[in-house]
């Protein structure tokens, strides 16, 4: 069992270097094949690890530096548990799908694209598996560097690159915040191992400025990656220009990794020392999540650039994921995990449809594409299946995740949270349905006064890739996304895994003292009536709002004027200016830091 754990990342990584070594002489198809096989091998290895960590975390010490029980850890450990290993499987499987989709994207130096994709996927897998704070930062930077480069890779269109620049600068500043946090924790505890830091902080029992600042800095740094308001500005710019298969990984897993990291750090490091402050932490993070969910949904409704529209929908969902983690309950965490799975598959399919439209019609603008999708029925089916999955219909798609979140929130007394989640879902899904109906059915008016003004984009000439293969992958993802909601027993399993994930005491003793993990009781989870009601509401709401918003041009001019006036400042804030973005980032850290500083004492 043990040697499998390092192989999950080592196999894709060494394949990347192998492609680099001989890529110049390698046939393009061969480089592609190596990439797909390496991603699949990684996914299978991760699945094998997942199958064997059912009881809890399983530490693997690199370099043979396994500490004697109870002694100080000198090396770096991977600590896969079911949530972490499951995430790794998802990352690598999605990577394989993205690589198959880009199979016939013929460009010069194509092997470099395969290398960067493999580095990106392996880095994300390493990030979720590691149990070491600085190793987390290393994988964070590796995934970032690959992601920045992939954003700028113009396979499809010759768009300006400041989106990649904004992305790189914002995320790099986020990483510096994380390093500041790491340095603070290291200065206090003299350790980098998550379990060791956690147990030392807990033993110390001091919740002073250092602990609060370290938590705020690390959380904010990772929330930049998670595109949480006001750190979210880079996301739409990056998604608008990144190639579709890259967007699949960005929206499907990379953004979610930021949230995962916050959960991982909270539950291994800070849960003990900040445990008595669960209330303020929960309130602050839920507040931030709600703002993100609502803002993402509102902005989503105003986009005509399809990839940008999908990007804002990702922001809305990221807010919901953060809410799930912020509830600080196993059920909430499990809800987010299941939700991430369904969302990643469905959103991936939507981006791939965007890529197909771009290749078939050299256009990504909703209004200009009106009715042009009729020639691509399979892509249309995938689009609506994926949109349906995101609308959280009863027992399909994101339903299970939503239901777990709603239940957990209601149990804690946040009776209004399901309404916020429903608003975010309706807002973002309605926009996706609107775009789909306009593009694939040709419905709706030819103009919409509320949509943003986008400059028409020029497309670079390229060889036409195989649309059949692309549509196949897209359909597969879309229906897999729908099927997640119908997967019997998934919820109970994930809730159990979440109980293991949040058990800091057990994690610490497994990692440091080599005790076998304590089995958690089997969980049974039943759908409640209220979650079915909410699910019907979001489905009906999405369909109604989506259809009505096709005809916004028919609203009286006075109404649209007022709306446009209200939305103008919001639009203006998303200026594409990196200076603005960094100002907002600083503002966000100051506000969140201030809130924590005044509530935790």
């Amino acid at each position: 069992m043990t040697p499998l754990i390092p192989l999950v990342v080592a196999v894709p990584l060494i394949s990347a270097t192998a492609i680099g070594l001989i890529g110049k002489w390698l046939d393009e198809r061969a480089a592609d094949a190596v990439g797909v096989l390496a991603a699949l091998a990684g996914a299978v290895l991760a699945a094998l690890v997942l199958a064997r960590v059912t009881t809890g975390a399983h530490p693997y010490w690199f370099g043979g530096w396994r500490p004697r029980a109870g002694s100080y850890p000198l090396g770096i450990a991977f600590t896969p548990d079911r949530i972490g290993a499951g995430f790794a499987v998802f990352v690598l499987a999605l990577l394989a799908a993205a690589l198959v989709y880009s199979w016939r994207y013929v460009t010069a130096e194509h092997y470099l694209f395969s290398i960067l994709m493999l580095l990106f996927g392996a880095a994300m897998a390493g990030f979720v598996l590691t149990g070491d704070l600085f190793n987390m930062f290393v994988f964070f930077e590796l995934m970032s560097v690959a992601a920045f480069a992939l954003t700028a890779h113009k396979i499809e269109e010759a768009t300006p690159l400041q989106g990649a620049f904004n992305f790189a600068v914002s995320n790099t500043i986020g990483a510096f915040l994380v390093v500041f946090g790491i340095a603070l924790l290291y200065g206090r505890t003299g350790s980098l191992n998550l379990a060791e830091i956690g147990s030392r902080l807990t033993g110390d029992g001091k919740h002073d400025g250092l602990v609060v600042a370290a938590f705020v800095l690390i959380a904010c740094g990772f929330l930049v990656k998670a595109a949480i308001v006001p750190f979210h500005f880079w996301l739409a710019d990056a998604h608008a220009i990144a190639p579709a298969p890259v967007c699949v990984l960005f929206s499907g897993v990379m953004v979610e990794l930021g949230i995962y990291a916050v959960a991982r750090i909270y539950w291994t490091v800070f849960d003990g020392v900040l445990g008595e402050f669960q209330h303020p932490i929960r309130d602050i993070l839920i507040g931030v999540g709600c703002i993100t969910a609502v803002l993402g949904a509102v902005m989503c409704g105003m986009q005509r650039h399809i990839k940008r529209l999908l990007a804002y929908s990702t922001i809305a969902h990221a807010g919901s994921f953060l809410i799930g983690v912020a509830l600080l309950t196993p059920d909430g965490l499990a809800g987010s995990a299941v939700y991430v799975l369904a969302h990643g598959l469905a959103k991936g399919a939507l981006f791939l449809v965007g890529g197909i439209l771009l290749i078939a019609h050299e256009e990504i603008d909703e209004l200009l594409l009106q009715g042009k999708g009729r020639s691509l029925p399979l892509a249309g089916i995938a689009w609506f299946a994926a949109a349906l999955a995101l609308a959280s219909p009863p027992f399909l798609g994101t339903f299970t995740g939503h239901a777990l979140l709603d239940d957990s929130a209601s149990k804690l007394g946040y009776w209004w949270l399901p309404a916020v989640l429903a608003f975010a879902t309706i807002g973002s899904t309605a926009a996706i349905l609107r775009a789909g109906m306009r593009v694939f059915f040709g419905w709706g008016d030819e103009d919409d006064p509320l949509l943003s003004q986008e400059p028409p984009e020029s497309s670079a000439p390229h060889e036409r890739p195989s649309l059949a293969l692309m549509q196949g992958v897209t359909l597969l993802l879309a229906f897999a996304g729908l099927a997640v909601g119908a997967w019997p027993g998934l919820a109970a399993n994930v809730v159990e895994a979440a109980h293991q994930f949040v058990d800091r005491v057990d994690y610490t003793s497994v990692v440091l003292d080599h005790t076998p993990p304590v089995p958690v009781p089997r969980e049974v989870w039943h759908t409640t009536t209220s979650s079915v009601v909410w699910s019907v509401v979001t489905l009906a709401g999405s369909l109604t709002v989506g259809t009505l918003s096709l005809y916004r041009a028919r609203l009286p001019e006075r109404v649209t004027d007022v709306l446009a006036h209200v939305l103008a400042p919001l639009r203006a804030a998303h200026s594409g200016h990196i200076g603005d973005y960094i100002s907002w980032l600083t503002f966000g850290v100051a506000v969140i830091g201030g809130l924590f500083a005044f509530t935790i004492r």
Partner: protein
Amino acid sequence: MTYLPYALSVWIFVCGLYGIVSSRNLIHITVCVSVCQSATYVLLLAIGYRKHGTAPIFSDMPTRGRTIVDPIVQSLTLTDIVVSVAVAALLLTFALKVFEHHHSLDPGEIAGLKG
């Protein structure tokens, strides 16, 4: 009691951020990002420093009495420096590509993605 080196790292970080926010040139921003990053080197090394400590390099087997500074933070800083160069090279590449497209490096002039 002295906290001066820690304060220095905060000062460098804020300076770098100010440079990014006020900048009118993408290459200038790249340099400011590197300055920001140097704040993290200073902080890490300052944390691992010991009064009268020497570098953790031995010409003979270590003796208990000798005070040495922390080797871990130094190794972390080394990694940090490599990251900084890699990111700088990438940012400059983006800047070049932006310039080829817009004939400008001013983030105010090139902000084409809005709303």
